[in-house]
Subunit: 140 residues, 10 copies
């Protein structure tokens, strides 16, 4: 059973190194699990979509919840899907600190990544527009 899970979290420490750690880990641990997805980050906030088998995605989410470098881990959306939307990346990446403010503004109250104030549907729409605008980089 394929599912998609989207969550938000805050980095406990927003030094460049700690961010790099989290991102590296996210990108490296998936290959054997069949999980694909996208990781957005900006202003110390993460917005990540995970797609894959129900057991695998849950196992991955458990690791993230127990990882001390994240706090305020909040589930935004979860649904059983018939096909992946983000199947093209083992874990695509978007650095929202750099650009894309007009896309952010379309889905947020301010031109900042803030998934905590909007519904999960809005966060999914933001991720899809980033993908449609080729804003995602990563290994296919």
């Amino acid at each position: 059973m394929l599912v998609r899970l989207i969550y938000a979290s805050r980095a406990v420490s927003v030094t460049r190194d700690s961010l790099f750690d989290i991102i590296s880990q996210a990108r490296n641990c998936n290959p054997t699990s069949g999980i694909t997805g996208v990781l957005c980050h900006g202003h110390g906030i993460f917005l990540q979509a995970l797609e894959g088998g129900r057991a695998e995605v849950n196992s991955m989410y458990a690791k993230i919840m127990k990882d001390d470098r994240h706090k305020d881990v909040t589930l935004l959306q979860y649904e059983e899907i018939s096909q992946r939307r983000f199947g093209g990346w083992t874990m695509g990446q978007v650095d929202l600190g750099k650009a894309h403010t007009s896309i952010l503004l379309r889905y947020s109250e301010k031109a900042e990544l803030d998934p905590y104030t909007v519904s999960g549907t809005v966060s999914l729409a933001l991720l899809e527009e980033l993908m449609d605008n080729a804003a995602i980089i990563g290994r296919v």
Copy 2:
């Protein structure tokens, strides 16, 4: 929570200067609030769409209602939205006194701006068609 609010008002005094004042103010006060939108004017009537966070849009609308240069301030439409339609302008502007009569006629009883006689849905449709016809000018 993102919302869109559309209202109509009449200028108390329709001298060129007073109109200019209202428009200037509308265009200048938004940047810090995350509010975007469009302001149409013609024949001493204003039709304005505001998009942004619920608290910010309400705060902005309260200022407009207390501004003595407007009268007959009337709410036309208000809805919670998942994405902005007018996110491209801090406050786009359309001077309907000059042109666009064929677009006006499609949505009005006469070829004049008169949001007071039609439903809010019609006013939103008018704003969207003006945008689709590149009739809106302003800083993005």
Copy 3:
């Protein structure tokens, strides 16, 4: 409140002059009322669509009903609309006596204008197809 009214009528006398009179009048009386529309004629039958404010369209229809040159004036369709379909003509005109038989046949039992035997929806579809085929002439 914008409405669209479609009716059919028969000319009492189908001389060329009387037809010309009716058509001239239809095309001339609208400008100040904000009414737009289309007038089809053929085989002594008229099919006319009027769009505009509810009061204005009703006032216009009252004049037509009291005009002795029409008989069998029959309302075919009436609806409140959010935008005009025939806003491009003060009163566009189609002479169905000349051409367009294939379009007529698609919506009629015979290749003649006969709105009296079909539903109002069919008559509106006929008018829209005539417009889409650039069969309407008139001042915009």
Copy 4:
């Protein structure tokens, strides 16, 4: 082809006798035509629904428009129907001057009959609620 036509009008003279005349006539002229319906009146305003064959209803409406005792005759709704809603009365009658203010208020801006400010759909809903509340009197 069965149709339903709803219109509003104002009595030119609101004396008791003139109202009585209009109502009597409305109730008496239908039997041979197959037309059924309901006539509401209050505050010098009439709201009438006519149901029957398309030709018959149009013929009846033409008579009303030419009757000098009505003014501001305004079409509110017109549709082809597969069954009558008001088939139980040759012409049912509701005197809104007397009672039913709570029903009026549900569909009007004030507790008065005022079909001129609302959409045709609302007027039909008012008539249906009056019928459902047994407010209509008349010969079946």
Copy 5:
């Protein structure tokens, strides 16, 4: 044109007298305007629904926004309606400080009145359930 407007506000001073003042005023000013509705209060928060003509409801809302005894006045829902939901009260009243905690909990994060954290649709649902449970008191 009938509309329904729902807003939330906080009392500037939550003494018993000041609350009583606000409620009295809300209940007394409507009769001539054709406005009907419901006012809920609890924990210093107000949730009010206003129904009536578009101009009248806007005029009423303008007065509330300029009234110094309210703060954080926030529009929650606004729509054009074909019939009133709260037409039975010039201004019905619910004191949520006293009871109804199970109804509150169904629509809120905590068993308290807090329209600021939920969507306008949820606040309307809360008002409708209170009405269906006969929790509203007032003059019809």
Copy 6:
């Protein structure tokens, strides 16, 4: 923002005492959080629905995932809701080991609680039927 989260888990040790511990804890920790819900258990498996504010439900779910007495914690359904379905219990309880086999069979491959083989929608339907059949016990 109200959400509902449904998950399944297995007890690490299925002694009577360990089960009692888990259930007691589930029922006791909610009052201050505004969380309500239902806990089913049978054959060493738990199926729990949590309803409440998004932050509170996520915080509760994080505690469960870190609790060593559960394993195979698997998210089944998550959605933003406009009203609670299980608002009547701080934490209702169903012991599926005892009865209700006909209800279980309607939603499962065998007459046992096994949320791991069916979709989240089916698990929600099972919980709703248990509620409709008054199978849930607990403090309201």
Copy 7:
């Protein structure tokens, strides 16, 4: 494949005997064919619904079309159905010359059986209402 076919016809001779002949035949020829249905008659007009296998219903309809006692045989409705509506009668019968004028009027321009002026959907609705009002007599 089950189908339902509804047609109208006129009796060539409307003597009492000829009508009786047609009705008798209709009622007698079905048992072996699996055809069921209803036959209405009034004012020399027949309205008949036939339900059964596609081949059988077509064979029956062919016989009717070749029967010199009918004229103006006109197909009104034909559709593949998943269950019969008139399965309770080998051929139920309604004599509309006698009663049921209020039902007739609901679906007709005049209080007479006249399927030639309305759509097939309306004729089916008339038959269903006659059945719901227990107006059909016959052997089950």
Copy 8:
């Protein structure tokens, strides 16, 4: 009232001349009736769609049913339509004996014309695809 009728039949004698007779007749008898349509033939089977006024189409179908050169005449589909699909031919023609096997196979159990085993909807779809593939020849 416009209708479309689709039927299948088998030629009693499948000599080349008898087929030619049937087709010639089908193509020649329509002009005065306003009927348009398409006639497919192959393997001694005919599939014909007739569009036009309800009375005219029924009259035409009666002639076909009484024509001894057809047998097993079976109605497949009949509906009231708002516009013709096959208005471009007085009677278009497709010889399925020659080609189009891939189109036939898409809608049939074998690559042969066999409308007797499928629903009327499928036969209409076959005719529409033949038209979309320019497989129909004939005078417009």
Copy 9:
């Protein structure tokens, strides 16, 4: 994953004993598999619905297909379901040879069990109506 499978078959030998054998076997082999359902028989034809896990239902169907006492085993309907319709019987039974002809006729061309001539949807509807009419007997 729950599925429902409906098939028809013919008994190779329709002696009373052979029928009894088939029915006994159908009723006895399910308990350990979690399969529930209904078996109808009449005129030497079987119509059976099986509900349960996907693997189990397929395994059961394989046994039936290999059983020499059945022939013309034909799948009629198969769908993934969220709840069972026939969960109340390990294998309910209906002897259609005895009664229920009016129910049979509603869904069949003749008053006989003949699932081979109708769509799978119709066969499911027949089974549901038999259940709703308490025609099914068996151990719950």
Copy 10:
């Protein structure tokens, strides 16, 4: 009656020769039956879609179920269709062992053919995407 049946199976022996046998047979036995379809294979698993007449497809499926070279034959989807999706191949073929991993991953938990863990709808979507990507080879 056209149907589509999709099933999965595992090869009992996955030597190259045994696979070749199964595929050859699948491709060769259809021509006279009017059956068309697609056969995917990879990792010793088969996923096959069969389209054609209901009797023919069932007969074919019976042969497959009795063929000892397959095991775990599991029906995934079955529906009555109005047109074929895979009518272009007597039996198209896709070797998923070679390529197409990105397509597989979009519809599967891992980048492998595994129809046993997903719904039948997902398997149909996979087949359609393979077709849309021209991944199917075979004789038309």
